[in-house]
């Protein structure tokens, strides 16, 4: 059994390696560099507990005497703190590692929620059509006519007031995922519905209907796998957007609390000290955020070009 697998595996790997998708990736330096940077950031974030010199969530480890130390490369830098420290004497390098991890987790989970909601609603709207379609799409229109941030701010402000900041801070991660996830599902629903409408007209769907398959099977087994390309493309853009939304909310004080900082709350907490000369507390997490969002968007652009059915016919 293992022998068969061993002989077959390289063939399959070779096939993937030579597929159009991977080939165009290999031939596109921007995509390769972006992917490398993204993987680096993701790996660093994932391994934060092992990479970080101190636990940034434990205030007992901070020394107020170390507060506002600049990064090592400046004259008054301290070799213990690579990127310097913030106002409480917290190691910024550790805080950024943990913060990036939080930002990524919130971004990915929010997008997963968006995708789950949006794909199922889009599939049903596109496949069933008629009144169901109109109803669901008008709902999406209404949802879209509120700005994501506005909905999030109202929702988070109200819950914060209702439960008090203690409880709120405890569940902030889930609140952020829920609010960003729910606010942006129409993006998915609209894209999926459009592709479903196009796929539904193709004869393989008729063929499945003539064979007597049920609507659920046709939607999930036949239409969905053929609608994946735009879903991939939109997902990259949405992850970047979700990370930015989270950062914005945290910056406004409605997201992650300063005790468990994400990139947004780090930028926010450093903002007060920017005029007293401690630029690094805001600037370094800011650069990390920009680079992270930029590489995700660049990957999304590349993917859109490759998967565009008008440019490339499979």
């Amino acid at each position: 059994m293992t022998d068969i697998n061993a002989t077959r595996e390289p063939g399959r790997l070779g096939r993937v390696w030579n597929s159009n998708f991977v080939y165009s990736f290999r031939k596109n330096p921007v995509a390769v560099v972006s992917m490398a940077i993204f993987l680096l950031i993701a790996a660093a974030a994932l391994l934060a507990p092992w990479l970080a010199p101190v636990d940034p969530y434990d205030p007992s480890l901070f020394d107020i005497m170390d507060s506002e130390l600049p990064p090592v490369w400046s004259d008054s830098g301290d070799s213990r703190f690579l990127f310097g420290t913030d106002d409480q004497g917290r190691d910024l390098w550790s805080a950024i590692l943990y913060g990036t991890r939080l930002s990524l987790i919130i971004g990915l989970c929010a997008v997963a929620l968006q995708a789950l909601l949006g794909i199922s609603i889009g599939l049903i709207a596109g496949y069933v059509g008629g009144r169901t379609d109109s109803l669901l799409m008008r709902l999406a229109d209404i949802q879209l006519s509120f700005s994501t941030l506005m909905v999030a701010i109202i929702f988070l402000a109200v819950t914060q007031a209702m439960f008090g900041s203690e409880t709120f801070n405890q569940y902030a991660v889930f609140m952020l995922i829920a609010v960003i996830g729910v606010a942006e599902w129409p993006q998915y629903a609209r894209t999926v519905r459009a592709t479903v409408l196009a796929e539904k007209k193709k004869e393989y769907v008729d063929s499945a209907r003539v064979l007597g398959f049920g609507p659920l099977r046709i939607m999930v087994r036949h239409i969905l796998p053929n609608s994946l390309s735009p879903i991939f493309v939109i997902s990259t853009v949405q992850v970047a957007n979700a990370i930015i939304s989270e950062a914005s909310l945290s910056f406004l004080g409605l997201g992650m609390p300063p005790s468990q900082p994400s990139l947004g709350s780090l930028i926010s907490s450093g903002f007060d000290y920017i005029f007293s000369g401690s630029w690094w507390i805001t600037a370094i997490p800011g650069v990390v955020l920009v680079v992270l969002v930029l590489v995700i968007n660049l990957l999304g652009d590349w993917m859109r070009d490759v998967l565009n059915p008008k440019l490339y016919k499979g």
Binding site: Y204, D206, S207, V210, L211, G212, F213, P225
Partner: protein
């Protein structure tokens, strides 16, 4: 006696079949401003207008006509992909157009469809093996995996597809091979009736012959009955036992293939036959029709063919001709033929 009746009863029977596609669906689209008044009117495409047709067991009934004549709509109505606006569809003695999806399930095994475009009729994300196994395991849930695989392999061999190709995806095959696979998929559930909607018109000449041969073989070996939709008259002559000529969703002429090609009676059938470019005949003496097919949105009163017909009279403009039995057994819907104004 009773057996004889069920033997002779047609497998498929269409009674006054009609299909309209509404163009103006919403209320706002239906409101029109005309002559200073607001009126409500809904435009519709009259794709199929009252067709009566039967298909007997073991025959290949061909439906021919030009684009927009409703031939594909007939196929899709019979296959249950569309629901008729009026009329009835009977299969093997029982009415099927009112059945729901679950009630139709046993029928799906008996009635299958082959589509025009082999490039879109196979799911591009499924391997050939998956695509062929899916209907078998869906309709024969009692079969084991090995039995399913055996059945699929047997069908693949019968259509000239090597079972070892099963792991490949449709895009790795040529048009002709894909159409073989699509036929195999329809045959996996052992149907007795196959609807073929222009199954060879997307293929090259040398491949068309392969596919037609394959379909003829399947007919002989499995005793299939075909409803064969095409615009290609040379294929009809070769393949069909009986032919129905459609024009604007209406039946013009229904007769045995040989009778139609020897002696077409309806003016439209005559024009259609004469328009086929002949290989060895130097003189193209085709009957020129004036104008083009009118849109099926505003159907003319009377005979649908009147605007292009050289024999049209006042009666043709006013009264819709009914299909009448001719001495040689064919059905022709034409006032001029009925009145003997066209010499045979």
């Amino acid at each position: 006696m009773k057996d004889a009746i069920t033997q002779d009863a047609p497998l498929l029977k269409l009674k006054g079949l009609e299909k309209r596609f509404e163009l103006d669906k919403g209320l706002l689209e239906q409101i029109k401003f005309k002559n200073g008044k607001l009126t409500r009117e809904a435009r519709a495409v009259h794709a199929v207008n009252g067709i009566n047709l039967t298909a007997n067991r073991g025959e290949a009934l061909c439906v021919v006509g030009e684009s927009g004549c409703g031939k594909s709509t007939v196929a899709r109505l019979v296959a249950g992909l569309l629901t008729p606006s009026a009329g009835e569809i009977h299969y093997d003695g029982s009415r099927i157009d009112t059945l729901g999806r679950r009630e139709l399930l046993p029928l799906r095994k008996k009635m299958q469809m082959v589509f025009q475009n082999p490039y879109s009729s196979l799911n591009p994300r499924m391997t050939i093996q998956q695509a062929l196994e899916e209907p078998v395991s869906h309709h024969f849930p009692k079969l084991s995996r090995a039995e399913v695989r055996d059945k699929v392999a047997e069908v693949m061999r019968s259509v000239g597809v090597d079972p070892s190709w099963g792991k490949r995806y449709p895009h790795e095959f040529s048009g002709g091979q894909r159409q073989r696979i699509a036929i195999a998929r329809a045959l996996t559930v052992d149907p007795e009736f196959v609807i073929a909607d222009e199954p060879i018109s997307a293929l090259d000449v040398s491949i068309q012959a392969q596919i037609l041969n394959l379909m003829l073989e399947a007919k002989d070996e499995r005793g299939l009955t075909y409803l064969f939709i095409t615009h290609d008259l040379s294929v009809v002559q070769h393949f069909g036992t009986r032919v129905a000529v459609l024009y604007l969703g209406t039946l013009c002429e229904l007769s045995d293939t040989a009778t139609l090609f020897e002696n077409p009676k309806h003016p439209y059938s005559r024009a259609l036959l004469s328009a086929v470019p002949q290989l060895k005949d130097d003189k193209p003496n085709h009957i020129r029709l004036k104008g083009e097919i009118p849109t099926p949105i505003e159907m003319p009163q009377g005979c649908p063919f009147q605007s292009r017909c050289a024999f049209a009279t006042n009666r043709c403009q006013a009264e819709k001709p009914r299909p009448l039995q001719q001495p040689d057994g064919s059905l022709v819907a034409c006032h001029a033929v009925e009145e003997g104004r066209i010499d045979a």
